[in-house]
């Protein structure tokens, strides 16, 4: 007999890091993100703690890396302004303190987001988002309804060649990167994107749970198609999400650092950068 209280809606069985913490030990962990861009690089060290330790972010810019000591010159002493916080401004995520559970949830959300970019790269407003919007037009061009295909659990009927033909016939293979004004090859993005190269270990787990969908068909990982599949079958996505969380807790217990590190590694898989 189901008690009303138990059956009341909105009681998800979320695996909990803290629920496995028998000794109450402080869980803290840190991650280092190294980004490289054509203009230079940045190193961001983020320390995340369970009990309110502030996040620390360190940005090393290309200009700082270029400083050199000149022994023949007399040092010129100039009063300087108070030092800025490690030479750069921090984005909102770096400035916030994040508990291990929240960090794990966030990373799981990101890993199961078909449009997620690795290493915390921003997708919204990027040339990659613009490229995916162009690619999405191919489905209508060939007479397919993306939502209908996904709902009926069919493999992506489009091939790389069909995308290429579409892009060339429509004259949209090359688009301008809104940030650099450089030309960006949409077809190369389709081919090289991790979405087509494997998408790491997470997305195949979802597709394997969908009868009729071939998890080895790389075109099913095209971001627009994967998003359509996830939108049509959110129950499957949610189950996989819970299982991954459970598996991580089985593997690492309450070692939040290890859990976080594992998820970070998954985020790096097949980035194609």
């Amino acid at each position: 007999m189901v008690e009303l209280k138990e059956a009341a809606v909105t009681a998800p069985p979320r695996p909990s890091l803290r629920s496995r913490s028998a000794d109450g030990a402080t869980a803290r962990f840190a991650c280092i993100l190294l980004r490289t861009y054509p203009q230079g690089g940045s190193l961001r060290l983020i320390s995340v703690a369970a009990h309110g330790l502030p996040a620390i972010a360190l940005l090393v810019t290309a200009s700082q890396a270029g400083c050199r000591f000149e022994p023949d010159l007399v040092p010129l002493e100039i009063p300087t302004a108070p030092p800025s916080a490690f030479g750069g401004s921090l984005d909102e995520s770096a400035a916030s303190v994040e508990a291990p559970e929240a960090g794990m949830e966030r990373l799981l959300d990101e890993l199961l987001d078909p449009f997620n970019m690795p290493l915390g790269m921003t997708y919204i407003g990027s040339v990659h988002e613009a490229a995916d919007e162009v690619l999405a037009g191919a489905y209508a061009y060939y007479g397919y309804d993306l939502e209908e295909l996904a709902a009926s659990r069919q493999d992506n009927p489009l091939t790389e060649e069909m995308f290429r033909d579409y892009l060339e016939r429509q004259g949209v293979r090359w688009i301008t990167d809104p940030h650099t004004n450089e030309q960006f090859d949409v077809y190369a993005w389709l081919v090289q994107d991790r979405g087509v190269e494997a998408r790491g270990a997470i997305h195949p787990e979802v597709l394997e749970q969908l009868p009729g969908i071939d998890a080895e068909n790389i075109m099913n990982y095209e971001r627009n198609y994967l998003h359509a599949l996830y939108s049509a079958h959110p129950v499957v996505v949610q189950r996989v999400r819970y299982r991954i969380a459970n598996d991580l807790l089985e593997l690492y217990g309450n070692d939040a650092a290890a859990v976080f590190e594992h998820l970070q590694k998954l985020d790096l898989v097949g980035t194609g950068d």
């Binding site: 394997e208 189950r239 459970n246 089985e250």
Partner: protein, 183 residues
């Protein structure tokens, strides 16, 4: 009866009976929506110390276009539910009725798990994404109900096996070993 050996001991691999537990899950679903129907039911294959749950079942309703319900039977016997919001209309499927399947979960597992499958579980003791799911294989009316065994390691390289058997006759309909997609 086939004796299934679990990952690291001589224990028999066993899973709960869906038939025995389904009524409790359906009862919970009816509190969400009186027209709720069973869309699929899933049982994790125990690999580690604790599975995520014993049984989960998803329910749709013809009157709900933008949400469905997940019901979980936990190891401690409690039943939890979670509303799953949909950003696109729910894919309404033909309900799975009691007479659509005859094999219970344990029997289905014993048929579906071959030697290669047992070896996979031995090599991947934490194969936390392995599951046995009762589902209609297709979306068209009259599509057969199957038991679908997916052996997979959530955190591994994506190697696994999928076996589908007829939920009434036990006939093995397909068995595929899958590997990560290559570029």
């Amino acid at each position: 009866m086939t004796a299934l050996v679990s990952c690291n001991s001589q224990e028999t691999l066993s899973i709960p009976s869906l038939r025995e537990n389904l009524s409790e899950l359906e009862e919970a679903a009816s509190l969400w929506n009186s027209a709720a129907y069973l869309a699929d039911a899933e049982l994790p294959i125990p690999g580690g110390e604790h599975g995520p749950w014993l049984v989960s079942a998803s329910f749709n309703s013809p009157t709900e276009q933008f949400q469905s319900l997940l019901v979980f039977l936990q190891e401690n016997g409690t039943v939890n539910t979670e509303i799953i919001p949909h950003t696109v209309p729910v894919v309404q499927v033909e309900p799975i009725e009691a007479n659509d399947w005859k094999l219970d979960s344990q029997e289905a597992l014993e048929i579906a798990l071959d030697e290669e499958g047992i070896r996979f579980l031995e090599e991947h003791p934490g194969a936390g994404c392995s599951s046995l799911t009762l589902v209609r294989i297709g979306l068209e009316p009259g599509s057969p109900v199957v038991w679908r065994l997916v052996l997979s390691d959530c955190l591994g390289p994506g190697v696994g096996q999928t076996t589908e058997i007829d939920a009434t006759t036990g006939e093995v309909l397909s068995r595929e070993t899958h590997r990560p997609p290559a570029p």
